[in-house]
Symmetry: D2
Subunit: 177 residues, 4 copies
């Protein structure tokens, strides 16, 4: 039986999900999409551009793990949702994340913050080899160098600790400026 064959007893409606989000930590995944060269060295980072409240923001690929969904299937689903169906992501063979990002509704307890909820997010660097197109609410997908990604300008356009997580990812792959 695969994940796809399975159906839950009932989805949470939006009101219930909102209530639960104030009472339980929610399981998330964060993916840092990267382009790599033949030696696996990261040469570019892909960031989603969105307009939020009239302000340009940049974000990583991020989303919830569903009931009865494996972490690796959630990763694949969110990457396809945000980068399109032919991004050809190389989902890691090991479930070991490079870090765990703890988004709390109270700012300052951890480097991460989400006013809506307490999310515990497994973070992965994911090389994508195919053609990526911004989907849904994103207005662009920009590929920038690790140096640009960690620079003040880009960091200020990221919120909730995504800029911090991105710098941790670059430290992990040895491309922190």
């Amino acid at each position: 039986m695969t994940t796809a064959d399975w159906r839950p007893e009932g989805w949470l409606d939006d009101a219930t999900l909102a209530a639960v989000r104030r009472q339980l930590p929610i399981v998330y995944v964060d993916a840092v999409p990267v382009r790599v060269d033949d030696s696996g060295d990261v040469v570019a980072v892909g960031l989603l551009l969105r307009m939020v409240d009239g302000r340009m923001t940049r974000a990583l690929v991020s989303g919830r793990v569903l009931y009865h969904e494996r972490v690796r299937d959630a990763l694949l689903r969110h990457i396809e949702k945000d980068l399109g169906p032919v991004a050809l992501p190389q989902v890691p063979s090991s479930p070991q994340p490079f870090t765990v990002a703890e988004y709390l509704p109270t700012p300052g307890v951890t480097p991460y913050h989400d006013p809506r909820q307490h999310a515990v997010s497994l973070a992965y660097v994911v090389p994508v080899a195919g053609d990526c197109q911004p989907q849904q609410d994103a207005i662009d997908l920009a590929w920038i160098t690790p140096e640009e990604a960690c620079g003040d300008e880009v960091q200020l356009e990221m919120s909730g600790g995504h800029g911090y997580l991105l710098r941790q990812a670059m430290a992990h792959v040895g491309r922190l400026p």
Copy 2:
């Protein structure tokens, strides 16, 4: 503001928690308590003995991460709850787990299984230096060698994939038999 200063808007009552457990993955931590020598090499593994339905079972330290609780605080809390207040655990300085155990209500999708819920558990090897005493429902805490821990006899006394996770932990520390 520390984790301890914070109070939730309202705890989930048991019925609601039971319902949510059929609809959302729950964040867990698993700790493999170990004794180490001066070089950090694992010399013994601590397993909790419990009577479950009249049968002797062995288990790792395991439990839920609460709303607004950091993963490292959940680890410390569960270790103190199961091993007592003077176990002196060395909670890892990095949140990177050695693996992520996905306990699904359907057996066979992953090596882990929990009929009550879908738990996504961050797994850590935790050296404990102090005096450990079984608490609450546990009738004993047995320290056994990595070889014994991975042997058929002990593995058969563990359920839900704890035996599997224990072998992964021993592979991670280089003590798989």
Copy 3:
């Protein structure tokens, strides 16, 4: 300046290298070649078959890191040397290995053994997407399941701790039987 542009002051001749191997640990890489599905889950492991002293043996991709060579370039070079030029290996973006295998000339100190030398080997799981052909001294490259790879029959055909390292790799990717 890339690794390829660089030339050493002088290669070690075979006699000197043999002498040094009895006096200094040598830097190695080990790669476990795998096939993965779209979700990154390991479905097969690639093992090299060689005749050694009239006996069939199975081995991982393994070799020395050269002076002034980056670890990732050594990984790529040894994979191409053993699996051919169109294997399309996905060399990890992070230098963090899943473990470090310490091959000592004295058996029993660690799970790894090499009578010729003390090698400290950085071990990686490397998905390969392309066509693989055994090269040089290998007579075949067999793709087998993780279950077969960890089974007694295959484990007995591996020597020096390669079977042990393979089981650690399968534990790391969640495919230990």
Copy 4:
């Protein structure tokens, strides 16, 4: 037989070691000594102060792995050599480093540099619980906050990429400023 019981066939004399250092990568370990709180959170980083060519420099604990010495024994030996015999280091139970630092004699190929040699260094964060005293050539051991450790002033006093490795360590433990 333990590591300590073993004697090499012959130590390398200084001239030979110097020659080999221009021809083979040398196995190293780097340790970032830290103080942690009960939850394992890093509260301070320990840096060695030395006078080098009349200039004040700060350094991590770093050194060679000897022939037939396990990585964990080398870590313990170098920490005791630099922090004294009662530092009570908690050497990691797993050999998996948080990163691998590649010190090349040519600057700019990697973030690390060592004009004397090509060193491949396994890097670990090591909590120390005891009393630390600077030894030998160090004139002081300063405990500073992660924020100070990553600040410009301290970073400029570190050389060869130690400042970079320190920032990677802080990213790994979630304490990058």
